[in-house]
Assembly symmetry: C2
Homo-oligomer: 294 residues x 2
């Protein structure tokens, strides 16, 4: 099989239930009785999604925060997490970080599975939440004329990773990479207002490209309006780097967000590409961000 994209295409054929949202969203949205549940599962592989020698407390935090960030993009209130853990180096540190993250987000650990296996580890986490607003935001609702917004700066995780790799002794320098923040309160405040929302895991441009496809529109972004955590000379990189977990959201033109955010563009009728940057259409996703292909 050619790789992840082809696999996912076939997986999508199996996921015909409406709750799966065609696997085009970061979460499943499942109606159960009078409740709307939000479900997500993300994995971290050693050496792929985290550094082989990284502090396992930070890895645990990341595992929790990245999944809760998916819930944040749906405006969900977390109900709990289940963990899939492979024993190995620094299990105590993992437990330390797991406890810190669960306390920080006030989310219960509900269960999971602990196994012993050889080789690089794969850690998984499932997060479950309940919708605080219905309909639940998706990537697919952006309307022509809407404004494009982002909750904060991109590029901070990139700088944090560089500091970590350089052995920077100041833990604050790598904090944005090591301990990403899931913007749960912002997501809940925004959910009743947005026409579309997602969290930024793979880079602003790539994720905006995907939202453009899902919504059948073209997202026109003004690169100079995007807040960046880097020096100006690295703006192009900051727009393409992932792991920042800001929320990208779309509001009707006249609506102001109830949380700190920055307007970075507007939604246009669909052109020859789902993304336009500074007036230039970007039809090829291959250089926009982190593509998940091995």
């Amino acid at each position: 099989m050619a790789g992840e994209l082809e696999f996912i295409a076939r997986l999508r054929d199996l996921a015909s239930h409406p709750a799966a949202r065609g696997l085009n969203d970061d979460c499943a949205v499942l109606e159960v009785g009078s409740e709307t549940l939000i479900l997500t599962h993300d994995s971290l592989a050693q050496g792929v999604h985290y550094l082989p020698d990284q502090d396992m407390a930070d890895v645990a935090w990341r595992l929790v925060a990245t999944n809760l960030s998916d819930l944040a993009a749906k405006g969900a209130d977390p109900l709990g997490v289940l963990i899939g853990y492979t024993l190995g180096r620094d299990d105590e540190r993992f437990l330390d970080g797991l406890g810190e993250a669960l306390r920080h987000y006030d989310v219960p650990l509900l269960g999971g599975d602990t196994i012993t296996a050889d080789g690089p580890r794969t850690l998984g986490l499932t997060a479950i939440g309940r919708a605080t607003h219905r309909p639940v935001p998706s990537r697919a609702g952006a309307q022509v004329g809407d404004g494009i917004w982002i909750t904060g700066a991109v590029g901070a995780a990139m700088l944090g990773l560089e500091a970590l790799q350089a052995g920077d002794s100041d833990p604050a320098a790598s904090l944005a990479y090591r301990r990403p923040d899931a913007l749960l309160a912002q997501g809940q405040a925004l959910a009743p207002l947005v026409t579309a929302m997602m969290d930024l895991s793979d880079g602003l441009l790539l994720d905006a490209y995907r939202m453009g496809i899902a919504s059948g529109v073209t997202l026109a972004i003004d690169s100079a309006a995007v807040p960046i955590a880097t020096p100006e000379g690295r703006r192009d990189e900051a727009l393409r780097w992932g792991d920042d977990y800001q929320l990208l959201f779309i509001l009707p033109d006249s609506v102001q967000p109830p949380v700190t955010a920055h307007r970075i563009g507007k939604v246009l009728a669909r052109k020859d590409a789902p993304l336009m940057l500074d007036g230039r259409l970007l039809a090829d996703a291959s250089h926009l961000g982190w593509q998940h292909e091995g």
Copy 2:
């Protein structure tokens, strides 16, 4: 850290929410509005939980069935699954088997995560269901004087694994190992009647030992009453081998099960061990079944 048991002990300290059931059950039981959700996550590691060269269609089936078996032990009706998949050998076969299992159990694929990573693969699956009866059965309710029951024979998976390892050309010979059955209908029929229930993943004796601990009783099993799939000379092995996924359940003495099942013993007041086999107390769990330690 000493291993899985110590890790789980510390994990248990983090899982203080009542829905986690102290991590002593195979599922979390979460009240959400008027619904009671049943949640479980189990992983399969290549070379540990399945043979390195095994047909990935069978591995996919096992991944689905073992998680649904946990739901069966709670009398739950499955709502869906989320998958954590690492790409590798025979991805097409995995998708084939995943589709077969999902259709067989009529369970929707809701979402998940697909990653690329090096080394032996770890595959995870989260299953979510809704309780069909409350209170939801646990391992902890066995009462003195109750009868101990099992839905069917043990040892079939052992024979199946041996056939597979021997290269038996008859696929039926290894079926019980390759394609375990999650007894969802039986679990739902039994849930209103049982005082305790669990599925057998690690061997009858070890799992009964655990139920005895959870219930604070001694389970007295008559080994000759246990149905086995093996020749008589291998009865001891059949009682200790895992992967059969029968339901072990406890009924008040006068209650007959509404499904095919075999009475294999009775519940006694707690003695010096949680398990008694043919009148002999078994206080040491170390030779009773599959212990999950690397």
